[in-house]
């Protein structure tokens, strides 16, 4: 067998490795091992690529290549290891964006080779070959700039709420048509300059596509962009006739699309609604809801009073949210819960599917604090019990208990199922300020007469409550 056959066989092995990696994710037990299999497969394929003649004999380019890889690794590893768990989505966004960029560059450069008479495929390439290139460049670029904006929103470098401006649709339409025209032109003329313009416009498209999407929906968006990058990679795979790229890219493209649908379902919204709801009611709705909070008075309480309240309650429901993760208060909250149970209070945790910043975020935190699984209730099991609860203790949660999701059609989180803290006799919020949650919208519940706020870091507040309950 020729060297090429060997390389291709290794690539096939790698592809299998990737499939197994995804299969591993079907259960938390094998998930991590699966991921390692995937990493091994990638390593194998990359190593084998050094055996490709054009790479092996690339001389000075080979050095550049290694340099680029070293730099990349030197940057990526510490970044990936240091990033806070709460900042994971941003991180994923970046890595996804650069991937899209790489794919776009591959297609672009391949096109240069095609068209430069010096390239081995001299003369004008077949139309379908051009289409492959165009798709790679187009999708890849959109994914790149889109991910960048998504990152900015998550990192709060820019307001998370939907960005809207007059004439938005018009601009979108123009850009869209322009791109369409350029695609055709390139397909016909195979002109490099036009392709470059196309790439630039694609970058613009990515930006204006993501801008109007609300912060709370960005994670879904990232999943979508993820599948875009996958498709871009697959396209470049077609261009390079590389099965591995095609399979890997397509796997991601398909799974990403499915995952996007599954996530938007978890948020109780349709994908279309998530992507385009900003054009319309939202504009008005988000008018006053820019998170600056309004000036209405809220009821605040002391740890002592609240401690007593809970100590003598018969049923307390703890609703954890992102703030619990930020404050790392999972151990203290368990202490409080155990204390109350010891006093005969009926206590359980109500877990919202999208509480925190990643699916399963709360489960992981509380499991780590050794909270028994049977004390955790999924939203649907918890809600029927809320009306009989004396106290709903909201620890660093906000959007997931925001009634606006149910009763304010214009709201960016409208349609998302919530945990009905509002049904409890008393609602206690532990948060540091009046600042809104992830979605960047105010929460009427904070002004509810039944609500008492205890300002401060969740960990401190909980410690105080523990003391208060002990004293009571």
């Amino acid at each position: 067998m020729t060297l090429f056959t060997w390389i291709d066989l290794v690539y096939l092995l790698a592809a299998i490795g990737f499939i197994l990696a995804l299969k591993g994710l079907s259960s938390p037990k094998h998930a991590r091992r699966g991921n390692l299999v995937g990493a091994g497969a990638a390593l194998l394929a990359i190593g084998m690529t050094f055996a490709v003649p054009s790479v092996r004999h690339a001389g000075s380019h080979l050095i550049l290549m290694v340099v680029a890889m070293v730099i990349g690794t030197a940057v990526a590893v510490p970044a990936a290891r240091r990033v806070k768990m709460t900042a994971m989505p941003q991180m994923v966004a970046i890595f996804n964006g650069v991937g899209g960029g790489a794919a776009a560059l591959v297609s672009m450069t391949a096109f240069l080779v095609f068209t430069s008479t010096s390239g081995e495929v001299a003369g004008k390439p077949a139309v379908y070959e051009i289409i492959e290139v165009v798709l790679g460049v187009l999708i890849g670029s959109v994914s790149l700039s889109g991910s960048a904006i998504a990152f900015a929103k998550l990192q709060e470098l820019m307001p998370g709420r939907p960005v809207t401006y007059p004439g938005q649709q018009v601009i979108n339409a123009i850009v869209g048509l322009a791109i369409l025209g350029l695609v055709v032109t390139v397909a016909v003329t195979a002109n490099v300059a036009v392709l470059v313009i196309l790439a630039v416009l694609a970058l613009v498209l990515g930006v204006i596509f993501v801008l109007p999407i609300g912060g709370a929906d960005v994670p879904v968006l990232i999943s979508l962009l993820n599948s875009f990058t996958g498709l871009a990679v697959a396209a470049s795979g077609f261009t390079l006739h590389n099965n591995l790229l095609i399979i890997a890219g397509t796997l991601v493209g398909a799974s990403g699309t499915l995952l996007t649908r599954m996530m938007s379902k978890a948020m109780g919204r349709s994908l279309i609604n998530i992507l385009f709801s900003a054009f319309g009611s939202v504009i008005t709705a988000t008018g006053g809801a820019d998170g600056t909070g309004d000036t209405r008075p809220v009821k605040t309480g002391t740890a002592e009073d609240l401690g007593v309240l809970m100590a003598y309650a018969s049923k307390v429901v703890i609703i954890p949210g992102y703030g619990l993760a930020v404050a790392q208060a999972q151990h203290v909250v368990k202490e409080l819960a155990d204390l109350l149970m010891a006093r005969g209070v009926d206590v359980f945790y109500a877990i919202h599917p999208v509480a925190g910043r990643m699916p399963g975020h709360m489960n992981v935190l509380l499991a780590e604090a050794n909270v028994p699984y049977d004390e955790l209730k999924e939203m649907d099991d918890a809600n029927p019990e809320m009306s009989t609860a004396d106290v709903a203790l909201v620890v660093g949660a906000n959007d997931t208990v925001n009634p606006a999701a149910q009763n304010t059609p214009g709201s960016p989180i409208f349609g998302m199922p919530i945990i009905h803290a509002d049904l409890a006799q008393n609602i206690v919020f532990l948060k540091r300020s009046m600042r809104p949650g992830f979605a960047g919208i105010d929460n009427e519940l904070l002004f509810d007469p039944k609500t008492t706020l205890l300002f401060g870091d969740a960990k401190d507040s909980l410690t105080k409550l523990v003391a208060a309950v002990k004293a009571a």
């Binding site: 990638a42 680029a68 890595f95 991937g99 591959v106 006739h241 790229l245």
Partner: protein, 112 residues
């Protein structure tokens, strides 16, 4: 050539089915790792970028190629590392207290 494209198309279609079937079995608690895991997988475009840079002629192609390799490396390396960290977190069982400090490090972001 035309035969080649058909084979690639076939591979494409089959991969779609595999992707859908496999992912439909992933529980929602693992959706985030799935996102970053698949994100890492498409980082394999690095293989393509290597070939491109290898065959690059003229500054333009070399520059683009170099950039491509760099970006792709970020994607594949970072992707797998991040995913591994997430899944490490998901291993946490009610039993093992031992992981608490690790978790702490993860959250507050200080180095090990």
């Amino acid at each position: 050539m035309t035969v080649g494209i058909i084979e690639l198309l076939t591979i494409f279609v089959l991969a779609i089915f595999v992707g859908n079937e496999v992912v439909s079995k992933v529980p929602s608690i693992l959706h985030t790792p799935l996102m970053s895991g698949s994100n890492a997988i498409h980082g394999i475009v690095l293989v393509g970028t290597m070939v491109i840079l290898g065959e690059a002629q003229g500054t333009a192609q070399v520059v683009l190629g170099f950039l491509a390799v760099l970006l792709a490396t970020l994607n594949v390396v970072g992707g797998f590392v991040v995913t591994d960290r997430m899944l490490e977190m998901f291993k946490a069982k009610p039993a093992d207290k031992a992981k608490a400090p690790v978790e702490g490090r993860d959250e507050d972001g200080s180095k090990p």
